[in-house]
Amino acid sequence: MTITRRDLIQFVGGSALGTLFTPAPWRLITDTALWSENWPGIPRPARGEIRAKFTNCSLCNAGCAVRARCVGDRPVSLAGVGGGLCPFGLTAHHLPFHPARPKQSDGKDAIAAVTAAIAGRRPSEHVVVLDSRPGRTASWTYRRAMAALPGGLYVSPPEPPVAIDLRSARTVLSLSAPLLDGWGTPAKVFAARDGFRLIQAEAVESRTAALADVWLPIRPGTEEALAMSIAGELSAAEAARITGLAEHLVASLPQELQKNGPALVIDAGMSPGVVELNRRLGAWGRTVFPRPEAPVPESWRKAAPPTELAAVSDGSVRVLWIDESAPGQYFPWEAIERKLAANALVAVFTSWMGGYARRAPFVLPTAVYPERLDDVPMAIDSAAATFRIAAPLVSPPPGVINPEEFIAALAGVAASDALRQRAAAIHKRGRGTLLTYADGKSVPVRDVKSEDFWKALNAGGRWEDDVAQALEPAARRPFPAPSPQAAKIDDYPLTIITESRLAGLASPSLSQIYQESNVRLAANRVALHPADASSCGVVDGAHAVLESQRGKREVTVTVDASVRPGVVLVAGLAEIGAASAKVVRL
């Protein structure tokens, strides 16, 4: 038998055709799919023993209780205990790997330069610590260090003078406070939400306004006038003229708050006017309390008092340390720069390169939550004193600096054990209860040994005082004078309203809300009413420039009819901090 060329072609063709009727090609497709799923470009999750660790989130003062699901020692997800977490808290375990963390430390150079600057300081010059997050044990260390250094000053943003109790309130009037959007402790706020009627007075339909029982769309910056009207310091007609609300609405508010009490009035920072208004409404001691603080060792009481930045003389700061290792309130750089001497030295403790690090010659990298052992300041909605430790879930990378120990060492103050000393002071007082999240048990502190108390706090425990503070008499006081309003500049016709956003590092996974869905306003976006967008010549999604007297930035425009005409809604604009702006099409 001879094999011809035709036979060969028939054989190959027949084989190819026959193969199609076998499982082989389909198996090949499946194998290719499986291979491509596991090729080297696809990351493989690490495996190991699954365990749970507990801590307290220190990204903001809410200090939510956290359960971390860990593979070995590495957290792979975070969840709230007894309530949910905000998107920032849910992704905090990504922060140690954030690409914006500073890589190199200027520590040695900074020590030499700071020591020389302190030695060469003139008597009228100051050494200043600017603490962007007051109320921590670290803040006490700074204050002690500044008391020990000649010319030392401790500067911090003002803390709210009061705490509130939402559970006791039946009517809440919120003057542009983002009550339902991260203002207090989310778990507490939403647990109490069904118990009170919420009236939100705000210029834009914020998230809180959208969920409020009543939304009063006031003119921007007129919250104070509304508060004065309720307090009886301004007529309803005048307040209606200023706020743009109907007069009968303004006139009915005091009766509504009195009738459906206990009432509570809040604004973003619990300003003195709002505190006085609460006092006049009879809320003092019922829904509003003096701000409590966890006990500290007696020896710390000689610390330097907090000073407001405005009270520091211009050009008098020779050495400035800025601690922005924990997210907090920002001062515009211009306000800080005015205080610096000509040869001032500025060093920034930070975990990201986006804030003051851009301005300072010395950048000292710090650990970030959840690497850092720190405590959480009092939450605004905690009427009793609390002490919560953010226990580290992972080890910090080599080369990071502990800011309070760094400054304390320069001032000759012992600070390495400050948190433990404070825990001992709390335990010694013997008041309050210890709550441990792992087992959900609540134990009186007097029944716990000092060593066990410290261990429990480090394992994600929480101390809460159980004794109400003595209250000041609720006597009527003079209503504080209204704060001066920034003058409107004709060149900048749009009033800026800032949507609250946590400063500092944010997980790249937040692209879910800022980029892939735009459900929240990203830092590079602004929102305008359709009429304003039309007059600026921009459309939804257009690229434009936001310009104010403080500077310019490129932005993307969102057109949204829930924004008040004449207003531009922005997010994360702390460094501009201007009152008005204009939007120019690119």
Partner: protein
Amino acid sequence: MNAKRYGMSIDIDRCNGCGACMVACAVENNIPPAHAGIDERKGLTWIRVYKVDNGEDYPGRRSAFVPMLCQHCGEHTPCAGVCPQQAVDIDPRTGIVGQMPERCLGCRYCMAACPYHARYFNWFDPAWPAGMEQTLNPDVAPRMRGVVEKCNFCHGRWHAAKERAAAAGTDEIRPGDYVPACVEACPTGALRFGDLNDPASDVSQDAKRPESFRLLEKIGTDPKIYYRSRKDWVHEIANAPRPGAARKEADHA
């Protein structure tokens, strides 16, 4: 073991649009951070919160936030019927509509068929910043570029709950032992999850409320996500045949 019919109830009047559900879902299911060029159309959001409004101008404007995820259709599941690869799987034990990325060819018929736009295509290889892959959930495999993915009610958690139940010597998962990440994360308590076949469960109770509704109920897909709101305009939007239709009809009237 009794067959379950897992479903979710969403209280629109409680949702503040914080996005915690979206972020928790991304963390749980190893959804990578977006590439620089990704926008709303190419984003991978197994659950996405949409802002809807009553169509009025300021100050009459009223908004609400609607979390949108795979509705886990129980009848004539549109995505399952069109998949040429049988990559869509409906688990008879749970009623969960699953997606098998290793079978998926990336033809996107299912995306076209889904009336809820709750399916997403992987346009890029999954990538995390250096070191962040150490935080990936070991129970969920990252998907490759070129496949479709969607919510599966955190199926990895269901398996884990099954294992725990088996270790306890039972077949039954106790209520509360299996909760998707979005429900666990919701700080407002707007999202609830459970077995719709269990008349005592929260979701069953929620589903029976008069203010409760399902999206595009009239197309007969028997979705297992029940929304509820006391606002009439939210119901009008939910019943509209297409976005903006309720407003246009009102304008014509």
